[in-house]
């Protein structure tokens, strides 16, 4: 029996990393940069967060070990250690977040330096960054696993994860409503806020108008006095940071703090497919990501004959097939507003006008 109340929350948690990735990529693409490095950026965002969390957890452990006596005494006197009570929860969220943002920002800067400043080919740069990002993630992932001395090929950061997966207070008591709408960690809600803000900025503000202009025709934007380089750098770096948070959400909330190599899989590519699916609209991406998330795990909810496991692969294909169909439909309808930014993927030389 298909249980919709348990299916939707699963689809949502699958969809959130995709939402981060696609929002980031939309912001990037609106500036005319086709960043195919997003899957790599999400890996780097995730592992940077993991590195930050791992080091912080180690630091907390040695603090506890060094001050065991004082902590015990403080607990006994009913005035618990201030650092452990207030500092640790705060820093457990802040440090992985900042490391994640920093890691993704560096990837964004690298991409911009290559494609905007040095005018390298965007496709090649992006693909190289994906390969690099996945390798970077796996290398440090394996190193941390070795450092932690775990006997399974993964590293669990449950102490950090518990702060990332705090549920809203009424999630348990509100029945099906609570399960569907309230049962997610803060980063999930943040992703929706970011998507809405991104949509508003692109559609309604001056910055958004300028950004669209840069992506459509950098020469026009340039002659209108818009700093093309600044917008391209800005949009791409912010886009990478948003996408990086998707990686962080995946590890800290979805995977409950467990990093294992290659677990993130091909979600980065799905995020890029979503950009086309939503015809470059972050607000549409909220629903589209949840739909894709649902399609991604649909096979788990369908009756499965154990003799025919290959059918699973067919179901897993659905998101990509849907993207192809959307591409076909938008190409046939040929509405100008639904086309990709006109200068997408092209470097801008001022002299070549």
């Amino acid at each position: 029996m298909f249980n919709i109340v348990s299916f939707i929350p699963k689809a949502v948690v699958q969809g959130i990393p995709l939402l981060y990735g696609s929002t980031g990529e939309i912001v990037t693409q609106k500036s005319g940069n086709l960043n195919l490095g997003i899957p790599g950026v999400m890996y780097v965002g995730a592992i940077s967060g993991v590195i930050g969390a791992f080091n912080f957890e180690q630091a907390v452990k040695s603090y506890e070990a060094a001050n065991a006596a004082e902590i015990a005494a403080a607990a006994a006197s009913n005035s618990p250690d201030a650092f452990l009570t207030y500092g640790v929860p705060f820093l457990s969220v802040l440090i992985p977040m900042l490391s994640c943002l920093l890691g993704s920002l560096l990837m964004g800067l690298l991409y911009c330096f290559l494609t905007v400043t040095l005018k390298a080919n965007q496709n090649v740069t992006g693909l190289a960054m994906t390969t690099f990002g996945v390798g970077f993630g796996n290398f440090f992932g394996a190193s941390l696993i070795k450092l932690s001395g775990a006997d399974v090929p993964s590293i669990a950061l449950t102490n950090t994860s518990k702060y990332f997966s705090v549920k809203l207070p009424f999630a348990e008591s509100a029945g099906w409503f609570g399960k569907i709408f309230l049962s997610y960690g803060p980063l999930a809600y943040l992703s929706i806020i970011i998507a809405i803000v991104a949509a508003l900025v692109i559609k309604k503000t001056r910055v958004g108008l300028h950004l669209r202009a840069v992506g459509e025709s950098p020469a026009t934007a340039d002659s209108a006095g818009i700093n093309v380089t600044m917008y391209k750098y800005g949009a791409t770096c912010i886009g990478c940071m948003i996408a990086g948070l998707g990686g962080l959400y995946y590890v800290m909330d979805y995977a409950t703090g467990v990093w294992s190599n290659d677990a993130f899989g091909d979600r980065g590519w799905l995020a890029i497919a979503l950009v086309i699916f939503t015809i470059w609209k972050p607000d549409m991406s909220i629903f589209a990501s949840i739909l894709f998330g649902g399609l991604y795990i649909l096979y788990l909810f369908l009756p499965m004959n154990i003799d025919h496991m290959e059918y699973q692969q067919l179901y897993k294909m659905i998101p990509y097939v849907v993207t192809l169909i959307v591409l076909v439909i938008t190409s046939i309808r040929n509405k100008r507003e639904n086309q990709p930014p006109a200068s997408l993927g092209l470097p801008y030389f001022r002299e070549e006008r």
Binding site: L209, S223, G225, A342
Partner: protein, 517 residues
């Protein structure tokens, strides 16, 4: 003619002193002095590559001069970016419109401004400007829905919206019909009365004479001189531009023994998205004759030529080739190569010049080979023939190139066009289709091309000439076919047709009286 004389005792609105700009080893401008006064229209003349656009780009902040200084209203000004340029009240309408297709007129107009984004308020201000100068712009219309002349209007409103009182227009009439040009000139004259300073770049002498108060001439990046338009004439201005005497007559030899060469009957062509591009077009192309095709750009000229050359899918109709013995052969259904082998040469110069016909990254010899790649034995191509051909084109047409192995991309527009036309002519065609053969070329290079076309005509080739400059078209063609919205609006005799008549036919099928203003 300008009745308001610039009062030279006043401070110039723009004064450029000893401006020099280099790009690597190339000096685009060297020691240029230019003055522009309020309430005057200055025509800036010069051949292609003489540095007009570079000079103007320094005023509008896209380039920064290497040497020299710019004074605005008598005060030294540093124009390092387009923003600085706006702040000095300078606005430029570029030759290739700087508009974003998917945005509305209002969004394009406020683009880059620091004010609060309020499209409604902007729309009101745009309407105000439109009322003042007699423009017609719908602020909410998307650019991709607009005609060329509407787009240009948006460009001008954009400049005025920023409060510009110094206007630069780079070849504004290249894409307009005579009627639209007159309308533009009326607006410019009104702005002049409004005490604005205007610079206009154009290659069309009669426009210089009818519009400007003063002309300034550049040659090879150097400032040659300026004079009052009233005191000079087209011949003198051209001589100054070129640096030697130029004969400004387009020959029109009588057709020699014209015979029907291609019969087009009831040709209908639809684009991929189902829009009718040509509707029931019928005409005859004759040997030893130049058939000019006039029309607003995008009226089916491209589709017509491509249909004849076999590059376009045809909905209905027939195109028949008549050989010397009078035998008719259907061209439809033949592939481009078969048509070419029959002697139909297409020299089509698209908007981006290199797009069709030449490969930018390949050198001269290789581009010649695009027509002869099937010659040669076995899997190897024959390079000697094309090399000889390239050399002869370079020699005969005076192509300026460092060598035969230079990529075509790095040559200037005029030279690229000479190579393209030269190659087509070298294949000794029976029919020569040319479109925009002189697009963007200066007077001198244009006349070389006209001579080439006339020589072909004398040799008995049937020439189809699609052009933008109506005056040239009317001087060159034996007959003029006017297209309007994909229909034949009229076929006139080139010797008796007049501008207004052609203009009226271009805007309305069959023409009408209100076209003759």
């Amino acid at each position: 003619m300008g009745n308001t004389k610039p009062d030279n005792s006043r401070i110039p609105a723009v004064q450029m002193k000893n401006i020099t700009k280099r790009f690597g080893l190339v000096t685009a401008n060297s020691g240029v002095n230019l003055e522009l006064y309020k309430g005057e229209i200055l025509a800036l003349l010069g051949e292609n590559g003489s540095g007009k656009t570079t000079l103007m780009n320094m005023l509008c902040g896209l380039y920064f001069p290497d040497e020299g200084e710019i004074l605005i209203n008598g005060k030294p000004a540093t124009i390092a970016s387009p923003k600085d340029s706006f702040s000095y009240g300078i606005g430029m309408v570029h030759q290739h419109f700087k508009l974003i297709d998917v945005l509305s007129a209002a969004e394009n107009i406020v683009l880059g401004l620091d004010e609060k984004l309020d499209i409604k308020k902007a729309g009101a201000k745009i309407r105000e400007i439109c009322d003042k100068y007699g423009f017609d712009v719908d602020p909410n219309q998307k650019i991709y829905d607009m005609s060329v002349s509407q787009k240009q209007t948006v460009e001008i409103v954009k400049v005025l919206y920023r409060g510009a009182d110094i206007l630069i227009l780079d070849e504004p009439t290249a894409v307009l019909t005579p009627q639209e040009t007159e309308k533009l000139f009326a607006v410019l004259r009104k702005m002049k009365e409004d005490n604005k300073a205007i610079i206009i770049i154009t290659h069309k002498m009669h426009e210089v004479e009818s519009l400007s108060d003063r002309v300034a001439v550049l040659r090879k990046g150097k400032y040659i001189g300026d004079m009052r338009t009233a005191d000079t004439n087209a011949a003198e201005m051209t001589d100054m531009m070129v640096g030697r005497k130029v004969v400004l007559n387009i020959m029109r030899p009588e057709p020699v023994n014209p015979k029907d060469r291609i019969l087009v009957n009831g040709l209908t062509v639809k684009s991929e998205d189902g829009i009718t591009k040509l509707k029931n077009v019928s005409f005859t192309i004759r040997s030893g004759e130049i058939l000019g095709i006039a029309g607003i750009s995008g009226c089916g000229q491209k589709e017509l030529l491509e249909a004849i050359a076999g590059l376009q899918v045809v909905e209905s109709g027939s195109i028949e080739y008549v050989d010397d013995k009078g035998k008719r052969e259907q061209l439809l259904g033949k592939d481009p190569k078969q048509i070419r082998d029959m002697g139909v040469g297409l020299s089509f110069v698209p908007e981006d010049r290199l797009g069709m016909g030449l490969v930018g990254n390949m050198d001269l010899t290789d581009n010649m080979m695009l027509r002869s790649y099937e010659n040669g034995r076995g899997p190897f191509t024959d390079r000697k023939g094309p090399q000889r051909l390239a050399q002869s084109v370079v020699n005969e047409l005076e192509v300026v190139t460092p060598g035969l192995s230079t990529p075509v991309r790095s040559l200037s527009g005029g030279n690229v066009q000479k190579i393209l036309v030269g190659r087509e002519i070298a294949s000794a065609p029976k029919v020569l289709l040319t479109a925009y053969a002189v697009r963007g070329l200066d007077i001198n290079a244009s006349y070389t091309i006209y001579d080439l076309i006339n020589e072909q005509k004398k040799a008995g080739v049937a020439v189809v000439y699609v052009g933008e400059d109506l005056d040239v078209l009317m001087e060159l063609s034996d007959r003029i076919l006017v297209l309007c919205g994909g229909e034949v609006s009229g076929i006139l005799d080139g010797r008796t047709a007049d501008r207004q008549e052609v203009g009226a036919l271009m805007t309305k099928v069959g023409g009408n009286s209100d076209g003759k203003n």
